[in-house]
Symmetry: D2
């Protein structure tokens, strides 16, 4: 279970309190405010605060364009225009804060996105919980052969069983030794009187990278969309992609017009190189272009044919 009874009680307490505000408010997001959206076996994402809505993007754009925008009569149209032309600053005018619980190896990828505010649980101060990530059998991918950083088929039979056992046993063992070195159990009780216990800031190094950590992560909408375009991508590692997908649902609730524009111009859109575009023009003019005559490498040719939905 990703959240503890104490956390559940705290969430219920927070959700029961309402206030009156003059700020832009989004009922569809209020509905799930504070609620954990479960991800992986023990993780979650939950929205703990937000600022702005679709109109805040429009409002900022109108300040930029001043009287000049009187012509643009429809907000959704303006949002599409901004997204299409990569006018990113109006999207920075919305902000959202998440509480995320995630395995450390996922946190290490995530933190590479620098344009966000973070407060992470400190294992120097406190004892980490006994919670670690174990993939489900269908996510136990073998190493891909072509793509050096990807997964291929799912492991089967004995190999799968053996891997699962190793992961689970090692995770449990390192935690047992973590407690032993601390001379303290997860619940804070002492194991053996008379021993001092290793400093928490040292003992933590015995935990494996599948242990869960948690943090508050606050980001503006522009940078969130950039994060999601990279991490909701099929090439992203599954274990971070599921977080991105949960957050995409949040974006859809929060700023539906922005979500539509993002789907049309980013998620569903594509990029073509100069030579790739030339190939498209030649194809459209009726020329039977081959890879050899295209000016593209085999790999780029294959990628372009994939984009264009052409079987080779």
């Amino acid at each position: 279970m990703p959240i503890t009874p104490e956390q559940r009680a705290e969430i219920d307490r927070l959700r029961a309190v309402t206030a009156t505000t003059r700020r832009a408010t989004v009922p569809a997001l209020e509905e799930i405010l504070y609620e954990p959206l479960e991800v992986l076996d023990h993780g979650f994402v939950r929205v703990v605060d937000y600022m702005g809505d679709d109109s805040a993007v429009v409002q900022a754009a109108r300040v930029s364009y001043g009287k000049g925008t009187k012509k643009v009569t429809e907000d959704a149209g303006l949002i599409k225009y901004l997204m299409r032309h990569r006018h990113s600053t109006p999207f920075e005018m919305c902000e959202i804060k998440f509480h995320v619980k995630l395995p450390i190896f996922v946190a290490r990828q995530w933190i590479r996105h620098r344009t966000a505010n973070v407060n992470e649980y400190s294992a120097r101060y406190s004892i980490l919980d006994r919670e670690f990530y174990i993939p489900t059998p269908e996510n136990l991918g073998a190493q891909a052969v072509v793509n050096r950083q990807g997964r291929g088929d799912v492991l089967q039979g004995d190999e799968a069983a053996s891997v699962m056992k190793l992961l689970r046993d090692d995770s449990e063992m390192v935690y047992a030794h973590y407690e032993e070195m601390l001379n303290q159990r997860e619940d804070g009780t002492t194991i053996e009187e008379g021993r001092q216990g290793l400093a928490r800031e040292l003992a933590r190094m015995n935990l494996t990278l599948n242990y869960y950590t948690q943090w508050y992560w606050k980001v503006d909408l522009h940078n969130l969309l950039h994060f999601l375009s990279l991490r909701a991508d099929p090439h992203a590692q599954y274990e971070i992609r599921v977080y991105a997908e949960a957050m995409l649902d949040v974006v859809k609730r929060w700023v539906p017009a922005v979500f539509d524009a993002f789907s049309e111009y980013r998620l569903g859109g594509t990029h073509m190189s100069k030579t790739g575009l030339e190939v498209v023009k030649r194809l459209l003019s009726g020329e039977a272009v081959t890879q050899e005559a295209s000016g593209l490498s085999k790999r780029e040719w294959r990628e372009l044919m994939d984009q264009l939905g052409r079987a080779e």
Copy 2:
């Protein structure tokens, strides 16, 4: 008058609408939400949105310190601790958005603070308003002699009158010529049929730096406090300091416990060099330290004596 009747109507419209929210809400800030706080002769600062309150800082700190913070029983105490030890990330968990109207030369200083989101009125798209800053007589400082970037006494008599007239006449003249080049009046009407009018993106270069611009400026609390510590400082130029002072009042309403800690440890606090601290220790031990024997330059000695409230 800093705001137009249209803006006043828009503000009243926004202020009349309230919604129910589960988010942290600050009644003292809601009171002034959207309201322009007047600054200089035509400028203003107004809060258009915010996220978080004093508790949001505490909440983020508690996630970092986990169970370890159970001992710190009082929120204000924790906030003081964080401020004193420069633990800045919990303060990044609050965010505020201002709408600011300010002279261009002030905007040029302001924008040097990079860790914020900005949408500025674009003079490529739209015609700038006929509004420019003229100092009041008591702010018409002469060039300081010692401090190369400061002001000395206030100009008097004929010199003051002459400066005022030059500033005002030139400001009016460049705007008249701006309209003439655009072949368009401030209200959008054409001056002379048959002329094309210079592009707005070019004509704007004829305006002087005291013309007003406006922007939305969104920033987290940590970076706002950093901005205020520099710009509310007596060494800051008067014309930006008055904006900082208006924003300090906003901070006081918004996050009173943070404001108190900021006053104690930043605004009212001081920094001492290694040698300066040595001098203090020697003085406390009864030694009659002189500048020559202090290891400090004359300038640093004078600054230290000022800090310690000692007349020389």
Copy 3:
């Protein structure tokens, strides 16, 4: 003339000194090191320092991909791969520092790119030079009708002459009054004994936005390319585009393999929306798609047809 005799002598002095280094060094860039590349009537861009070369990008990528990159045998191929897949961090490993002299209204656009280091000439400390930008006749564009932020035809005849005269006269007049208020001439001499002179930080507000300022601007290669992709674009204002073009030439000298990849995938590349890509697929399958049946707005349809080089 964009540079003063003192600056010329300083440049010659710097260029005459060489040292031996173990750092990556780029002879083609050393050739122009410190030399001003003239831009507009009084502006320039000059490279004053740099770090890294094409190989530094490859080196950083190889640290990321470790043994896994042994397969990629060619550096240029790896650079193209990184650019195509938007792996931006290796490009952040190169850094360049420019000294730029530019009109204030151009500086105001430029500074919006926040991910750079800047030290600007301070008009609080020092008197600005009597140098202002006046467009050449062929750059005196009229306001565009459709594109609210663009230029249309070039102004002609009396209108052009009148605009030129207004720009020039106002620029000269505001400077004369700037000196008068300061009670100091450009060369630092006093105009009239007995007057105090207005503080420089105030007097500067009387200057128009076409006055030149200057700064040191330091940026990593990734962020420089992002800046150039926006500012070397045909939609960018001419007066900033000419700076971007001068800097593109610098990039070509400095990191030729990166420049080639940038030309292929960014400058010459294009972006298609989800619906736009669908239209291309339908066209390729032989369907005679019309705007009405395309799912695209008229404007988007026109943009797509332009991309594909199709007359309507």
Copy 4:
């Protein structure tokens, strides 16, 4: 041994090549360029590139202050002035690039400093080396009692021996299982034909946080000094502090005048609160101030007495 024979050969190859440059060059830093400075049991820091020197700071400051700085005749004096008054932008004009090998739990602290460029070894692409950190006996601190995030006495006797054994055994075991899951040894050879091997991006999660990773880390001098002021502090965890100390030596070689100013105003300097400063003034005036009458909490009083070198 922190570096492999292949790395040693690569370093020797790089160090053997020199070039002529017009750039600012620092012989004392060239001496150690590329050379690993050993840290912990398998880690290192090495400088792989740099831009600028003490003069680059001065040069940037002079552009800011223009003619106004002619009075400041000495560079070291100007650097001290900039440091004292927290004029940070000139220090951003120098840049340095490090190659660092460090345990993952140290990397997790380090990466929280966001204003830097990073390329880290990817365990999605490549197999991590069998190298993990084990503290020396004198660094095996017990948990501190008062300071929840610090270390107290060093563990002794059986407890120390037991902790050492647990750390070492677990580290070795998780690596053996890492290889087994990958079905591949550290040297890339296959363990058992016919098995697929788990994807590298998954298998890595079985490693403990004391495993070494490595990255290129590039940062400007201002942000490096900020990092060092936090991480070379006695309150920083020992395992990151030793890296900071190695880098302080680098700064001393690279920009000696900046290093001196940093030592005087940051490392050796101190900060006093408003009330703390009042206490100092009262003490200097001869008043026998007690904690109770000071307005300071017991903790703050103790900290102030420590600053002033007063035994209680």
